[in-house]
Symmetry: C2
Subunit: 124 residues, 2 copies
DNA sequence: ATATTTGTACTATATACTTAATACACTTTT
DNA sequence: AAAAGTGTATTAAGTATATAGTACAAATAT
């Protein structure tokens, strides 16, 4: 379990995002049990209430389900699971393009820079 | 004056960013007078204190300078001015790559999507 | 059966950001 | 000279997020 928090977004949303990333990469799969609220709070060093809030959010988005007083599990709804990866990528691109839009960067310059930094980033 | 705020970042930082974008695109130039705190607060419908905080931040970053009781002006330091565009672009790319890094998207797929969405975004 | 572990709920406090309302010294305009 | 517009500063209050501490019913493990 390896989550690096930023100070910008609410922690509970960053936790949700972490699970989405795990789903997107296939690191966690349909029906799999997720850590309890208290467990994940301890391992991420966050407050159990914050963990609860994250799980509640995931439940509302249909990512996990919970049977009364049983550990929560990743949904088995393949439709939802399959959409996660695309959702994350497209949303990242959207945010990115919105942020550079006001600067009028030519597409070629932009792609070249992204490519360059992508490679550099991997090598780190 | 056309600033669209999001609810994620502090308003004063979004104002700073707006001025950086204007500098990056050459819409405002070295030595140019900027609106007074009260003026920009009125036109952006934000609190004068928030405007003051944004200007104070810009002053600390060397983007504007203020002679006692005179309207603030864009710096004439070309070194600073020239670095703004690159700073904005590289920071956007950095944030973008950080956000997709955990998903392990192949560079080709990523570039293709960025290109596709870039074009689609312009046509809007 | 007892203890531990589930999920869930509630109240209180701390912090960061924003807004609100003034105030003051100095410059420019009238 | 008076009025309006500069930048700057201070204090107070509101909101969202995170933390802290506690509680309870139900399931599981011992």
């Amino acid at each position: 379990m390896n989550v690096t928090f930023n100070n910008r977004d609410p922690v509970y949303l960053q936790v949700v995002r972490y699970f989405k990333e795990q789903i997107a990469t296939g690191s966690i799969i349909a029906g799999q049990e997720v850590p309890s609220r208290r467990e994940i709070a301890a391992s991420l060093k966050i407050n159990p209430n914050t963990a609860q809030r994250a799980y509640k959010e995931m439940e509302e988005q249909g990512l996990i389900y919970t049977e009364r007083n049983h550990p929560s599990r990743i949904t088995t709804d393949q439709k939802i699971l399959n959409s996660v990866r695309e959702e994350l990528i497209l949303q990242a691109i959207d945010t990115f393009l919105e942020s550079v839009k006001p600067i009028n960067v030519p597409v070629d310059e932009l792609l070249a820079l992204v490519k360059e930094k992508y490679v550099a980033n991997i090598e780190e």
